[in-house]
Amino acid sequence: MTTTAPHAQHTAPVALGDVRLSFPRLIRSEWIKLRTIRSTVWCFLILFVVNIGLTILAASVGSFGDGHLSGAAGEQAGVSVITLGVNLTSLVVAVLGVLIVSGEYATGMIRSTFTADPGRLGALFAKAVVLAVSTFVVSAASTWIAALIAVPILSGKGVDFSLASDKVFMPILGSSVYVTLLALLAFGIGLLVRTTAGGIAIALGLLLVLPPILQILGGLVNADWASNINAFLPSEAGRHLYQYDTGSTATVQSGGDGGPGGSAGASDSGIVVLNGWEGFGVTAGLVFLLGCVSLFLVKRRDA
């Protein structure tokens, strides 16, 4: 390592004229950060590959009905094949969302971040925007590539549907919206607990562990409240974003006593079922609430 003598240090100074903080500059900084860490780049790569790979795999090896599905049945099969990756990518983005902020706390980077933006919120909003846009773009690009590849494969197997149909288009778009919201939710969790292990444990617990526990509990003690809590968890509420809407959502699920369509709410049996937009509303609401709490704490806590 060489040492430069102090007197030689300002020989060719770079002019620092309009040097100050701004939100677009913070976005640029967070974008540099995102693409210069291997783990985050890997998460996006996995997200991309899984979305395309799983869909092609399912379309290629799957068998669909008696060899001829069209109308609603065809659309439903198409949507479930194209959005198959969500089951895995939701876990990937949950890890990514936590990692992108907990990694800064674990390494002490957050102190550099907050020294550059001592107001803190600007840097964190910028980080959230970069995370959300990147996740959505990678997810949407890979899902639509998968869709374009899957359509002819499925068509060859007698599954006919159009990507332009609202009931196909919306869930495919919704799958990317869902993973984007999950990434933001995980970001909020990471910001709250500030450790990678704890953040990932909570995020995955929320997605993987809590729903079956509530379901089993609900079944065991025949408690509607357990199922109703489950309906508002991100995994369950968000499911309606990417699932084919058979037209029976927003109605009563149990008992088969087909209640009136329209808004969701407690049915005769007292179990809440959400439709697509309500699922979006609930998931986005959770992100918003968690975001407010964690940002409030970030402002108050020592870095």
Binding site: M1, T2, T3, T4, A5, P6, H7, Q9, H10, A12, P13, V14, A15, L16, G17, D18, V19, R20, L21, S22, R25, L26, R28, S29, E30, I32, K33, T36, I37, R38, S39, G103, E104, T107, G108, M109, I110, R111, S112, F114, T115, A116, D117, P118, G119, A123, R300, D302, A303
Partner: protein, 316 residues
């Protein structure tokens, strides 16, 4: 370098700490301290580990919330500046770099927040001697390289005020010398340089003014020469075959004479010249007459001996 920021320099660059406190649970880490670090000089921040130096620096940089009082940089709280990296650059004690990112990308990302051009990133990499490792991931850095990167970050915005927490930690002798020269050079440009250390000897080489902190309180805030002369006074070692006679000859209200095990006298409160003259008048033979100047290290230990949080048995 200074011309570009002319319009930013309407306020005198300095750090002003007023009645600053920080409480962690029942413990007061920083207890109502006030002092000022002025431009054009290197202000040392000295104290044993756990005295509250790092906490104070983190509060200046807006990373920790003060429990009371204020810390301002160039006239405003750091958090209220629109160009914080331009106002103050900080190297904080713990590493503040993502280990998975290269030094270059780390600097580039921080520069981007303020629109600092890439040329300046290259410049600080060159200034800190990191050219050969700039593209390597920071996780592989030695402590010394990490310190250099931290200093590069601090210099990034060409700030008027520099806050360096234990900057020579982990540096090799050449690096220590470099930090010393750099600190003095930056101060000579009219900047405020505020650096901490737990080593008095380091301060003696670098700082003009010293703020000594012990258990969260300011024990001394003075030019380094004052701390040196004021703390211990002058001591003279004398060897003589007739110590009682000499003691009588120099006796006075402020004079203390102590006889050590090997027979030498340790005399405080009177100079070597006066002792020699008094001995001549009394006809006392002297075998040795040595003025002992208190070292800075001693002065520092005297100042902080009651304030150290963790005494080692040997040190007592």
């Amino acid at each position: 370098m200074m011309t570009a920021g002319a319009r930013f320099r309407t306020v005198v660059p300095m750090i002003e700490i007023q009645h600053l406190s920080k409480r962690y649970g029942p413990k007061l880490a920083v207890d109502d301290i006030s002092f000022t670090a002025r431009p054009g000089v290197v202000t040392g921040f000295l104290g044993p580990n756990g005295a509250g130096k790092s906490t104070t620096m983190r509060m200046i940089m807006g990373l920790d919330r003060p429990s009371g009082g204020t810390a301002t940089v160039n006239g405003k709280r750091y958090i209220d500046h629109r160009d914080p990296l331009r106002q103050a650059g900080a190297l904080l004690e713990a590493k503040a770099v993502h280990t998975g990112r290269s030094a270059f990308n780390h600097l580039l990302a921080l520069a981007a927040t303020h629109g600092i051009p890439k040329g300046r990133v290259d410049e600080v990499i060159q200034m800190t001697g990191l050219e050969s490792v700039a593209k390597k991931r920071v996780g592989s850095f030695s402590l010394g390289m990490g310190q250099r990167l931290g200093i590069a970050v601090a210099l990034l915005g060409d700030p008027q005020t520099l806050i360096l927490d234990e900057p020579v930690n982990g540096l090799d002798p050449e690096g220590v010398l470099w930090v010393r020269q750099l600190s003095r050079y930056l101060a000579s440009q009219g900047r405020t340089v505020f650096l901490s250390s737990h080593l008095m000897s380091e301060m003696a080489q670098t700082a003009d003014h010293v703020v000594v902190l012990g258990r969260g309180k300011v024990l001394a805030d003075a030019p380094i020469s004052d701390i040196l002369s004021g703390a211990s006074g002058q001591r003279v070692t004398v060897r003589t075959p007739s110590p009682e006679l000499l003691a009588g000859a120099i006796a006075g209200p402020d004079v203390t004479v102590q006889q050590t095990a090997d027979g030498t006298l340790s005399i405080n409160g009177v100079g070597a010249a006066q002792i020699g003259e008094a001995a001549a008048r009394a006809g006392v033979v002297l075998h040795e007459l040595t003025p002992v100047t208190a070292s800075l290290e001693q002065a520092y230990l005297e100042l902080t001996q009651d304030e150290v949080e963790y005494h080692s048995e040997v040190a007592r």
